[in-house]
Amino acid sequence: MTLPTWLALLVALALAGAAARAVRRRFFRHPTATWGVGILAFFAIVAVAAPLVAPFDPREQLDIIRLKNQPPSWTYMLGTDVYSRDLWSRVVFGARVSLVVGGLGTLVAVTLGATVGAVAGYYRRWADAVLMRGVDVGLALPRIFVLLMAIALWDRLSLPVLVLTIGLTSWFGTSRLVRAEVLSLRERDFVAAARALGAGPARVILRHVLPNAAAPIIVSATLGIGNVLLLEAGLSFLGIGVAPPTASWGSMIADGAPTLATAPWTTLFPGLAIALVVMALNAVGDGLRDALDPRREDT
């Protein structure tokens, strides 16, 4: 048990508490959203300060004979895995992988989706027709098969390429959403005014149209991070995501699965970490939607 771990927990709780007290706006009327912020803060702090928080090297096999599959104890907070590695240290470093893949993968997806959606919705006519038929095909692609193909056929992908591959196959839904928003926004007076003042299409889209479509984009991005995180975990579980021995929550579950009956903690804790983060993201996404969209009162 390490001091930085407790500190991270304390800071996260304090953040959630302070946020709930100070900001009495719509977002924090959601009790679960407040909890979500606290959980996300905890994992974010732990991920950033991983070397401080983790008591052991996540890749180090401490003692393969005597320290294999040890149950949780004061020294090994969450126990050790089948290779005698400290589980808590691996969960801590795994947070880095999960948050980075989830965050960056979603960033790629949302950027692409917003661009395609904005172009299709703003220019309409053939640009819209071509892009949206492309999106139709993208939505019909069996994503898990495509990812399996990309990853399995091109051998193991490096982390940046994995992030890019996930992002490139996850933007189709966002582009439809953004297109619908842009279609209605482009008819508004302030867009006509901007155009009358001589603003070019790029400026109108970036400065006037997209900022007004920000709310649904932010909400779908928040929910998207959770999906990407689950996807990465699934791929790593199949052994084709993040390369071992780098700690990833998905591959930790795969490592633990064969000794499920004798050492259940090796499977339990990494999965719990995924579930907590995804739940926090979903809760924050719900809170954001209610806070940003005044029409959706109290659902």
């Binding site: 095909v137 098969f145 495509v146 499920l260 995924i274």
Partner: protein
């Protein structure tokens, strides 16, 4: 309506064709070739070359593609490289298993999810709603494969109530031909279907609750109350019926899940379905099986969308007018 349907079907076929083309190009572009002998047992290059020629792999990709489309038009999915038999036969074995698993999961998903969502909407902001709301939020966030492992641990290892692998007992019940063997199948189906169904039901419940509450604020609900309809009638005839409209769209979107949603769960429960067939095929560079799997999966996507649109038009008279949707 008829013209609209024809246009939609034509567009759907075009989409499936595009997916098949993309998949075809992708698998052929990827490094590595089929029939590459493993390093520990090097084969005569002449044998490999003859095998490649036999399956026309030595021809340019465009020629192979045209030939493949020609076969496809005749309903021929080709021969599997790895399984040494027609792709259609392999699919005919795997698809029913996946349909059984995903079908059972979807049934649980929709029935339980709808019931919970409607119940929560009726008790909104009261204790049952708050408890269920938090529970569904939590379960909805589970990685399905992890929940599968937990269920295996609890019901398979500790309680020993359910078997944890396969579609049935291979010795006692190789086929579901007697009542006892049908029960055996269902017994094997329980854990994997429960895994997928529970996570799905949590999502459906959240969706349905929101849909019910959105409808609850509409004027026609107030009108129904104002004219003195009993609460039960208001909820079932006015609120639920309208909330079901958005559920139909969700149903259509869930359709492809029948084929691809079970990939990870099939791995955990050693379920010989589409997911495992496709995964193995990808790893073995078994091009015809991969393309056929993509063909099936994308067909389900467009079929689901089409079905949802038709059902919506049937259920919602307001949608029957537009002929150029």
């Amino acid at each position: 309506m008829a013209a609209w349907l024809v246009r939609r079907v034509a567009a759907s076929i075009a989409i499936v064709l595009a997916v098949v083309t993309l998949t075809f190009v992708l698998v052929h572009l990827a490094p590595g070739t089929p029939f590459l002998p493993p390093p520990e047992t090097p084969a005569d290059p002449a044998v490999t070359a003859r095998l490649r020629a036999q399956f026309h792999l030595d021809e340019p990709i465009p020629v192979q593609y045209i030939a493949y489309l020609g076969q496809l038009a005749r309903g021929n999915l080709g021969l599997s490289f790895a399984l040494r038999r027609p792709v259609a036969d392999a699919l005919a074995e795997a698809v029913p298993n996946t349909l059984l698993l995903a079908g059972a999961a979807l049934l649980l998903d929709f029935l339980l999810g709808l019931a919970l969502g409607v119940y929560q909407a009726l008790r909104v902001h009261r204790l049952p709603d708050i408890i269920l709301g938090n529970a569904t939020l939590f379960i909805y966030s589970f990685p399905t494969f992890w929940l599968g492992l937990i269920l295996v641990l609890v019901f398979g290892e500790w309680l020993r109530w359910f078997p944890v692998a396969g579609v049935g007992d291979p010795v006692l019940c190789p086929a579901a031909d007697s009542l006892r063997c049908v029960i055996d199948r269902l017994w094997h189906l329980t854990l994997p279907a429960l895994t997928l169904g529970l996570v799905g039901a949590a999502g459906t419940a959240r969706f349905q609750r929101a849909a019910m509450l959105e409808v609850a604020g509409q004027d026609y609900i107030r009108t129904a109350r104002a004219k003195g309809a009993r609460e039960r009638r208001v909820v079932l005839r006015h609120q639920l019926r309208n909330a079901l409209l958005s559920f139909i769209t969700r149903f259509g979107l869930a359709f492809p899940f029948l084929l691809t949603g079970a990939v990870l769960i099939e791995t955990i429960f050693a379920w010989p379905g589409m997911g495992r067939l496709a995964t193995d095929a990808i790893l073995r560079r078994d091009y015809p099986v991969v393309t056929a799997a993509a063909l099936l999966a994308s067909t389900l996507v467009v079929l689901g969308n089409l079905l949802a649109d038709v059902l919506l038009a049937v259920a919602d008279p307001r949608l029957r007018v537009p002929a150029h949707a």
